[in-house]
Symmetry: C2
Subunit: 504 residues, 2 copies
């Protein structure tokens, strides 16, 4: 149940519950015969008193929508048939879902979604996010940039625009890629609505259900989801401090013949590791030898702290084996939904054809806004500020970990990006630690679900980007206390999943 009580609302909680259930029953989402959760259970789920739930159920019973039945609890009996629809059965949607839809549903998602909801609550120190700090760009800059765009192009800023993206944006991207050593002309670039869309389009264009792909283990959750939805088998390559263990790749490629190799070589999500130049060259050589495409996802390459990362694999690509994904979501703003894909023309052509079917084009105004920010120097200025800010926050996290974490905890200090990967002392379960720390208002992402086949229980991803340094220190101290309690056997008993009331 996604429903939650709006505590700030003037509407009494029992009325909110009644209205929600009534709507569900009237729309047929709760079919006749469905048993409502017992009052006590419902009260716990929603964080209200049992009396509140009893009042709500009573009102529904008075309306003839539910009935209290001995031994069976409260059961849906309505809705009363509307005139003329007597005998019409509500449609049973689960019977109408495709195999793709069935692959979409998994307990993992529900847990993660709950976690993300929780981390958005005020007062919570969330290391679980994966987004840049929205405060790095002041809103008057957006206002000025919008004004300039509208002055220049007028209503064209809201009109339809080419599926491949507006020309000035593709020029800009080509120029920025050239600075990183990638020789893509604007015709080899297509704008997409973020790299997640690139992953979805590419899996649809390059794979069939049942195919295999290679990726890092752990890797980006959204990529694993794209693979799962497409019905792919994802084979994970272990990571170390220099990124994907490329020494293992050739044997895996020879054995599994993957449709492509997916990699985030720079400030990898979630480990923060960066693939060394030598490994980049070896990985590309394997791709060339076996004629396997590489999908290089590089959302974070701009966000280095002390020194720039090695060149993208795409910069080494002489024969068109690499498809390169980038985005302005991390360097500028995620709500713009503007990213890009750079690839040989046959790939771009197919992406454009599928885009026409998928959603026609990326929003026009966001594209102009990116161009305007770049033109005014604000894009690079914002990136410079992000480098300094995230670098300082990352160091603050490193210091706090050194200060507070008990022996046995290990982490990799990233050279850039948004994430730090923490390996807890052997035997500490990150999900249970999340329950502990959640009670004290600190959340993070347990790392187990980020592996293609479920990873170890003692890893987690901590993001430092959107928190003040003192909150980072405080949050890490709370985490460390939880780890100690765990090690001392004073932790809570294990509970299934992440309870909805973990953080209130």
């Amino acid at each position: 149940m996604e429903f939650r009580i709006a505590r700030e609302s003037p509407v009494p909680a029992y009325v909110q519950i009644r209205n929600h259930l009534r709507a569900q029953i009237l729309r047929g989402d709760l079919a006749p015969g469905t048993r409502l959760p017992p009052e006590r259970e419902m009260a716990r789920l929603l964080g209200v008193s049992r009396t509140t739930v009893v009042s709500a159920y009573d009102e529904l019973a008075a309306e003839g929508l539910v009935e209290a039945r001995v031994g069976r609890g409260t059961v849906v009996v309505g809705p009363p048939s509307p005139p003329g629809s007597e005998g019409v059965q509500p449609i049973a949607w689960p019977a109408h879902l495709s195999s793709l839809a069935q692959r979409l549903q998994g307990p993992t998602d529900a847990e993660l979604l709950t976690l993300l909801e929780l981390s958005a609550r005020p007062g919570v120190i969330s290391f679980a996010g994966g987004l840049p700090d929205p405060d790095l760009i002041p809103s008057h800059r957006y206002a000025e940039a919008w004004e300039a765009v509208l002055k220049e192009v007028g209503t064209a800023a809201a009109a339809s625009s080419p599926v491949q993206g507006i020309a000035p944006l593709r020029d800009l991207i080509a120029e920025r890629l050239a600075q990183r050593g990638i020789a893509a002309t604007p015709e080899h670039i297509t704008v997409i609505s973020g790299s997640q869309q690139g992953l979805d389009l590419l899996t649809r264009l390059l794979t069939e259900p049942g195919d295999t792909v290679l990726c890092e283990a752990p890797t980006y959750f959204g990529a694993l989801q794209a693979f799962r939805v497409q019905g792919l088998r994802a084979i994970g390559v272990p990571m170390d401090r220099d990124g994907m263990d490329v020494g293992r790749v050739e044997a895996l490629v020879a054995r599994y013949r993957p449709r492509f190799i997916y990699t985030i070589p720079t400030y990898q999500n979630p480990t923060g590791a960066t693939l060394s130049l030598e490994r980049r060259e070896r990985l590309l050589a394997i791709a060339q030898k076996y004629q396997v495409p590489i999908v290089e996802d590089d959302p974070l390459g701009d966000l280095w702290f002390q020194e720039p990362p090695p060149p993208p694999i795409k910069a080494l690509d002489e024969r068109g084996h690499v498809i390169y994904l980038g985005t302005f979501s991390k360097s500028l703003a995620p709500g713009l939904r503007v990213g890009w894909l750079a690839a040989p023309r046959p790939v771009v052509d197919m992406v454009l054809l599928l885009r026409r079917v998928a959603d026609l084009q990326s929003n026009t105004a966001g594209q102009y806004l990116v161009v305007e920010f770049a033109r005014r120097g604000w894009l690079d200025e914002g990136i410079a500020l992000a480098r300094a800010t995230y670098g300082a926050r990352c160091r603050a996290m490193d210091e706090a970990l050194r200060q507070h974490m008990p022996r046995g905890a290990e982490w990799l200090l990233p050279g850039g990006g948004l994430y730090l990967w923490l390996r807890l002392p052997e035997g500490v379960d990150a999900h249970r630690l999340l329950q502990e720390a959640g009670r004290e208002g600190v959340v993070f992402l347990p790392g187990r679900v980020l592996y293609p086949d479920m990873g170890p229980r003692n890893v987690c991803r901590l993001s430092y980007t959107a928190l003040r340094e003192e909150d980072i220190a405080r949050g890490v101290a709370i985490l460390a206390r939880g780890v100690r309690r765990f090690l001392q056997g004073k932790a809570l008993a294990p509970q299934p999943g992440i309870p909805r009331d973990a953080v209130v």
Copy 2:
């Protein structure tokens, strides 16, 4: 080849051609052994002199990238191997494409895309478009609305936002749907990036390759594409003045057991026909009897001329059989990429899960902008203006058709929307008429490709929305002259496809 000479460019045409081909060869898009088009053919394709092409080919030969071979024409021999990549084969992308990608490629697309490009040229009277008139909303309104949004929400306008859409927008949509008789609460609504995205998501969620769907014949090209890409068999139901011939639907449903029925009941694309209330009720009854979902696509319901259309089928839906798609692309602006889907909660849940994989969310700023336009009354004002403007233009087209078209031409006068469907006199081929009229600067959409299994040759779709009334009159007169020439046997010989130089 998508390349075109930039005529306003200071770079000589032969240099542009050389640069384009060189880039393609160096990137491996033109593999060694590929034969370049003969000089004369290339000159025709690009609209340049043969000498220009000869100069370009000569320079490429001098660089060792191509060779003139006797009897084989000009053949790609390069690129020279870069240092260290000797012996590395360029990747052969076609071998890496999925079955979905293969379904994407079709001659129809290429023709339509060419047509759409042509219609964008200055001076052309294009009846081929399908978009609202961008001039109906002055740009100062956008500027004001943006300013208000940024004042209210600041950088949140560019930050990430819920996959389901921002709450005020879902409230707004629920309210507007209520005015049309649809009882959807905000939790039954999800924002999507236009109805095309809705179609793509729904085909993925509700069908497997090989399944059957029912739709109108003719219907929206983007829907046929979505069906084709998913590997579906689309069965077309014939149309008349009252929309889909619902009398035939039950037998088709019983026979083919479609996964869903796709319909545009109001001001249908492309016929402009509107399904009568009685037929809406019958169609829904069939859906209920056979438990088949209806996907109701309603991008144009707001744009009526004299009187509102019958209620959406969704308004009659008591048991959750109807998934309703709407968009602000036609009533406000297509570049915003903001539409919606209203459906029973199980469908919304699945759409949300797939959206997270597909592209995470719709752009945030566009959502706030729609809310701001509505709040200021500008959305309804714009719709009222569009009704009056398009109504007048539609009447102008009707008058011009009456005045100029020879006997045997028939058309349906739509009650709203963007399109008029013209049946040319028997024996007139719309593709060949397009070539005739194209030479005189008038283009339109031949209707044949809008049928699931190719329709008659003598139908076409004319859009009147973005043209002044005098241009409509002039364009129709030119069209009619072409039809007369055709009937008099003076038309051009048939040519394959739509030639690139049809309109210059």
